[in-house]
Amino acid sequence: MEFRGRSISKGFAKGEVLLSREPISFYGGVDPNTGVIVEKNHPLEGKSIKDKILIFPRGKGSTVGSYIIYRLAKNHMAPNAIVNIEAEPIVAVGAIISGIPMIDKVDEKIFDLLEDGDVVEVDGDRGILRWVEKR
């Protein structure tokens, strides 16, 4: 199985899927020191995004969010790759300055076809997500 999207931030990564059907605000929504989602009542509240292939519709919130992604990367708490339905500048800029591969414009069916824990590869240069192994 393969999802074709668009390259936003270059690089290649492999890891376990973590899905969120809700948008993510990195500023205020993610602890930059632990990589744990702290936004109250968020579906991923309490879960760590460290080393994951983080799949969510889009970013939201303050532009300071770009810096939080950078801090996560510096603290080795960042996701291995980011996959969005529709990228917006906060997360896109955050991924680029942090060297995290990122693609967008993948089919929304991805939320039904993948499960948390599936192992996938993301090719940030070509905008492709490839399924490797079922959880």
Partner: protein
Amino acid sequence: MYLTPEEERILAGEYGEGMRKAMEILVAIGKIYDAERLIPISSAQISGVSYHNIGDAGLEFLWDFSRGARVRVKATLNPGGVDLGKWREMKIDREFMEKQGEVIKIFMSMGVEPTLTCTPYLVGNLPKKGEHIAWSESSAVAYANSVLGAYTNRESGISALAAAIIGKTPMYGLHLKENRRPEVRVVLKTELNYRSDYSVLGYAIASKAGHSIPYIEGMGKADLEALKLFAASIATYAGAAIFHIKGVTAEWMDFEPPGETIEITSRDLEEGYEYLRDEFREVDMVWIGCPHTSLKELEEIAGLLKDKEVAAELWITTSRQVKRMAEELGYIETIEKSGAKVIIDTCVAVAPLLGKFKTLVTNSAKAFYYSRGVNRFRVKVANLEKCIDAAVRGEWV
């Protein structure tokens, strides 16, 4: 998006890592908004300067980024989080002041001018009509597009910095004339007697017209100071990056008035003032200078404070450059004699003041929004005379 051969080489890293990263940021944003290509800019205004806002994450990023990058066009800085000469009087600790100094030094090493003001157009970053620029700071963006007729989107601090380093920005949004067209006609059926009325008007239009680009009729004259307060307010409440005012702004003649019409009456302004006034009597602080005060405003404030003494804290925020001129003209001496503080390089909205004061009076609707939201103060908006009166009495009457 089309890239020139030179832009391709920058993206491939031939000009170093800093330039590569800056180009990658611009290309990603260009892709997201379907820009055709990049266009040259004449200046940048960079936000994300206050250590209180960007924290260690921002400081680390800027430090790493600065090692391979310098700006190619005129670039100026938004306010930081502290007046470097008055941190004690602002109840801010030394560590914060030192971190803020680090941020400023890093920007300077990249060739950014440490103007530290939200009014770049008052200190020499003054683009002309039709010039493409990449500005962050929402009040300055609205002022530059509307009053000056320069072309800019609402940039973030990082995208403005990337644009300054490459000297270009993706061509989309407000860089295209057709996206600057007014969408709603706003007819003023009320007089505007004080500058704070213009600020409240920004809130009133936002409440009625939402995100639509307004074409305002019936304003008559408005000075720079009134327009800067209006721009800040409508940018805050409507997210507006551009507005047109018949007979006043740079491009009003370039467009036909839109068909959809709304009216703003004196009742709308009164309701605006009602919304913009929390309940309290004792006044801890009065703040003038959101956006940073001009020389003319400092002259007026000095006139109102002559031979008076303030009972509440009165903070007047401005730029270093304007303060210097006001000093030479004697305004600062008069203002400080009253016990008021003239504070530079920062403002109440971006300084670490959470919970340090309880109540605040200001002449700016934008200041109302951020002093409440960020600092948790109770706030009232009033005209300049009433603000000064509240500072002198220490209470709202």
